[in-house]
Structures are given as C-alpha cells and as structure tokens.
Subunit: 319 residues, 2 copies
C-alpha cells in the first residue's frame, strides 16, 4: 500500500529503535521490545505521505516528527494495556505482562517524554508542539470519559462520535496536518489534509468497532465482543438498542458489570440480528467518500493515489 | 521564606487551576483536587526566583513555565502513587484512592500533556522544551532503575547518588536554570544557578531520606522506615551495612521482600545505632555550602538572600 514511502518506513524503524535507546540497558530492552513488537505504523505513514505532498519535502526534517507520532501512540497503548490488564498485543507480551504494571506506567511516561524530546530538537515551532501536546491531552481525556461511562447504556450517537473522534480521528488528523505543515504546504491544503485524516480516522474506528461484533476467534485470535464485555457501546449496539425486539434484554446485559460470557454472547446474537452492522459499515463508507473528496488538488498523482489506497484499505479490511 | 515572590506564587495557584480545567467536568474535578491538595511549590518557586534574578524579568512570560514545572511534578506524583498504591498524599486522598488506578494513570498523562501545551504556547525555544522533555524522561528512567533494584543491597554509594540526582537534583537544577534562561541571564550565570539547584536538590533528597530513618509517626503522620520497607537503600543504611556489628542481619532484612514490620523496626534500630544519619547530615550540609557558593555574583541582594534562605531551610528542616 505504501510503496511510495517504503524506504522512509524502513528508516523509521531504525529511528524508533534509537529513540528509545538509553544508557541504561534495562530501558533499551523495554524500548526494543515495544518497537520490534510491530504495529501498522499507520500514523507515521500518514505523516510521511502528507510531507511528500508538500513543496519543501525533506525526509531528515519530517522523520523525527513521524517517529514522535508513533512514539505517542506506543506510549498510549502501553498505558492502555495496564488499564485493561492486557497480556498480549499484536501477539507479543505487553510490558505490564512482562515487567509488571509499575515498569509499564513508567515506560509509557518515558516514551511520551522521548517523543517530546525529538520534537524539541527539531524546532518545528509552536504549532507542531501545541498540536502534539493537545493530542496527548485529548487522548487521555477521551479515555477518562470512556472509563467513567462504561456500563452506562447511553443511546446518544453523538457521545459515540465524540468518543471515537478523541480516540482515533483527532490523531490521524494531526498526523496528516503536521506532515503537510513541516513540508511547507499552504494552510488551505493542510486543512484539507486534516479533513481527510479526520474522516479516515472516523471510518477506521467505526470499522474496528463493527469487526469486534462480527469477527470470530479463528480470524483474529481474540474472541468477539470485547467492547461489550468492557461495557463500551459501539454504533451497532446503539442501533440494536433502538430497533431490536430484544432491546430491553440487550440493555440489561450491556449495563451489567458482572456480565457473564454467556450474556456477552447473547448480546452479540441480538446485535447481529439487526441492521446495526450494515448501517455502521455504510457510515464508514460515507466517511471514506468524504475523505477522498477532501484530498487537496495540489497533491502529486502518486501521493494522491496512496492516500486513496489507504481509504480503500480501511473500507475493505476484514480484520 | 519566599516574600519576594509571594504575589507570584498566589498568581501561580490561579494559573494551575486554569491549566487543568477542561470542558469535561470530570477532568476539571480531578485537576482541582490535585492542585488544591497543595504541595510546597518548591519547583516553581525556584524558577520564579531565578527569573527575578535575570535582566529581562517578565512575570507573564515565566509564569507558564513555572506552572509547567509544577504540573510535571504533580503528574509524576500521580503515577508514583499508583505505583506505590498510596492512599493519601499531603493528607488528601490520592487520585488512585479516590477514582481508581485507571483514571489516575490517564490523569497523570493529561497533566503531563497540559505542561507541554503551556510551553508550546509560549515559544520559549528548543532549549527550554528539550530540558523539560529530558526531565520527564530522566524522572521515569530513575524510577525504573529504582524499581528494578529494590531489595538488592547494593553498597555502592555512587548508585545512590546517581539515583537521587535523577529523582530530585536534576529537577531542581532545571527549575533554576530555565527561570534564569527565560529572563535573559548570561549562559555563565544560568550554569551557576544550575549548580546551585543541583546541590540543593542533592541536599534535599539526602535530608528526606535521613528523616525517613529518624522521624516518628507522631511527627509526620506516617511511620518511619518507608524506604526500608520498600527495599530502597539510602545513605544511612548503606553506611550501617559497612560499619554496624549487625551488618549481616541488616543486609538479610533489607533484601527480604517479605520483610515484616518487626524486621523493618529492627533494621531502623541497627541503622540508628551507627553514625549513618550523622554522616548523611554532614553530606547534606556539604551540598548546601556548595549551593551557596554557586550563586552568581550578578544576583540582586534580595534574590540572593531568598536563595540562601532556601538552602538554610533545607538544612534546618526536621520533617
């Protein structure tokens, strides 16, 4: 998908490993584990693609920014895994599983700090720095709101959209906007790329959420219904609470923190029997169309094509 | 002690409350709890004093920096309290006790992010930002090293000094240096103030550690020997392991993660019977003398006097 930045992404891996290295071997070990455990690198990829689209592209200048974005994402996942008491991520042991919660909390802080140190060294200016600081702030606020509202069956679709915006769309928007910004794109083009990033972010999270309803353990290695089990309501569930003949039963299940596995499976069955998944997929497609329409006219053909492929990939993905 | 910056510190409290405010009432509530639960504000006070000593003092310019330093300290305490499972701090409930570990981890991230957002808005330049990012990184690294080495009776005094430098001295050094920096102090004067901050930081932590050996529950509301109980070796304990006739027994106790309260009390008795506390106090006094000798000659008399009072306060404090 990312042929045009394949070389950049290889350099990024090297960069990330160096970013988390420390004179303390313990720290380097934890950092390497985090970086080599993978990830799709969608955030730095969007930043690099956007930078390629600007008139003053300079890989040496944008690479630390792309790395900082991935480090912020990584740090936030490390803290999420402590919060969710998760044992594995992407098939590898989480930091909390391998080294304990204490080290995981501190490692997350360390990785956040390294991201800001990278940005400090580059003098990107207040705009970039403020965007990154606000991003971390909003990610935390979004998670706090989500945590405080679990097992409360809000049927408010606006709450759902506000939540996935803070969780995902704001981040992808920032990646696109800042990549364009440091490559000297015009303000108008930066804003259009930001709109693209926002829209694919919304589509990405909606798709993620509906796959959690649909997927089987054989496909993904994890059981479906994680969100329901954690008391987090997603678009198909909210729809089912409106239209299902079993809406009352569904609501009882999703608001019960003592939910058994049997109850979670029953909730999935109720949701799958409605048009909730289908409508969520249509909503994701709507966002992807918006995304493509938002791409600035000034983009070189190969970069535009790559951005379109990202959108198509999000629409097509089945896991 | 801080008459010369009394008005500044009052404004700081207002600033801090606004810094942690959010459109989300839940967040504002947690933030207000953190700020109103107090703290000695030693870090922003040092920054403000240093700024007053520079030729281009501007309160509006330095106040956000002073606030950012206190927010970084606050965020790191919030995470420390999760790590230590602490119920109270400064007599108030910790965030983890009041809202749970999940919210506490995320609140710490939020407060870190707010600190960097403040700095981003002010365009202090790469020097200030890099110093703050490195500070957060070093705080985390210092804690990780400490956590991984608990209950290991290293007799290496150099390890101890390296640890308290990362934990405390680097922070106070940064507060002094950056306050001078944003007030247009010469590089040489900034470096002298940094040396002052480093030295009082070392003295402060040594004193803190020896008070943990000496103090009684009546004085402080918490039992003595917290460090020993947590497997953290401080200067008096390291000395006792060298000179005490009961050194072997002491070593057995402090390396035992299953240590009982009786064992901890016995360790305290062994340490108190040596010259460990007395020698640690002498070492702290040595640092305080270095601190005073490091103050730049260019400082106005009232500012110099305040810096000397800070050093004397650290030397005299008994709790």
């Amino acid at each position: 998908m990312f042929d045009v930045i394949k070389g950049d992404l290889e350099q990024l891996e090297e960069h990330l490993l160096q970013d988390v290295a420390s004179p303390e071997a313990d720290i380097t070990e934890i950092g390497s584990h985090l970086i080599t455990s993978g990830g799709k690198r969608i955030r730095p990829a969007l930043c690099l693609l956007a930078a390629h689209g600007g008139p003053a592209f300079d890989l040496a200048r944008v690479l630390p920014l792309a790395a900082a974005l991935e480090l912020i994402h990584t740090a936030s996942l490390v803290h999420d895994d402590v919060i969710d008491a998760a044992d594995t991520r992407r098939g590898a042991a989480t930091v909390n599983a391998k080294w304990g919660n204490q080290i995981a909390i501190l490692s997350g802080d360390f990785v956040f700090a390294r991201a800001f140190a990278l940005v400090a060294e580059q003098n990107y200016g207040g705009f970039v720095l403020k965007a990154l600081a606000d991003l971390v702030g909003n990610l935390s606020v979004g998670e706090i709101i989500q945590d405080r509202n679990v097992y409360q069956a809000s049927r408010d679709v606006a709450d759902y959209y506000a939540r996935i915006q803070k969780k995902t769309a704001d981040f992808l928007e920032t990646c696109c906007a800042l990549g364009g910004e440091v490559s000297g794109m015009t303000r108008a083009d930066v804003e259009q790329l930001a709109a693209y990033g926002h829209a694919i972010g919304m589509a990405f999270q909606i798709t993620d959420d509906l796959l959690d309803i649909l997927e089987t353990e054989a496909q993904t290695g994890k059981p479906a219904g994680n969100d329901i089990r954690q008391g987090i309501l997603t678009l198909p569930v909210i729809r089912a609470m409106e239209v299902s003949p079993d809406a009352a039963e569904l609501e009882r299940i999703v608001t019960d923190p003592e939910m058994t596995e049997e109850m979670a499976q029953r909730a999935l069955t109720i949701v799958r029997a409605t048009d909730g998944v289908e409508r969520a997929r249509a909503k994701a497609d709507e966002y992807l169309a918006t995304a493509k329409a938002s791409l600035p006219a000034s983009l070189p053909a190969d970069i535009r094509e790559a951005f379109v492929m990202v959108a198509d990939f999000i629409g097509d993905r089945e896991f």
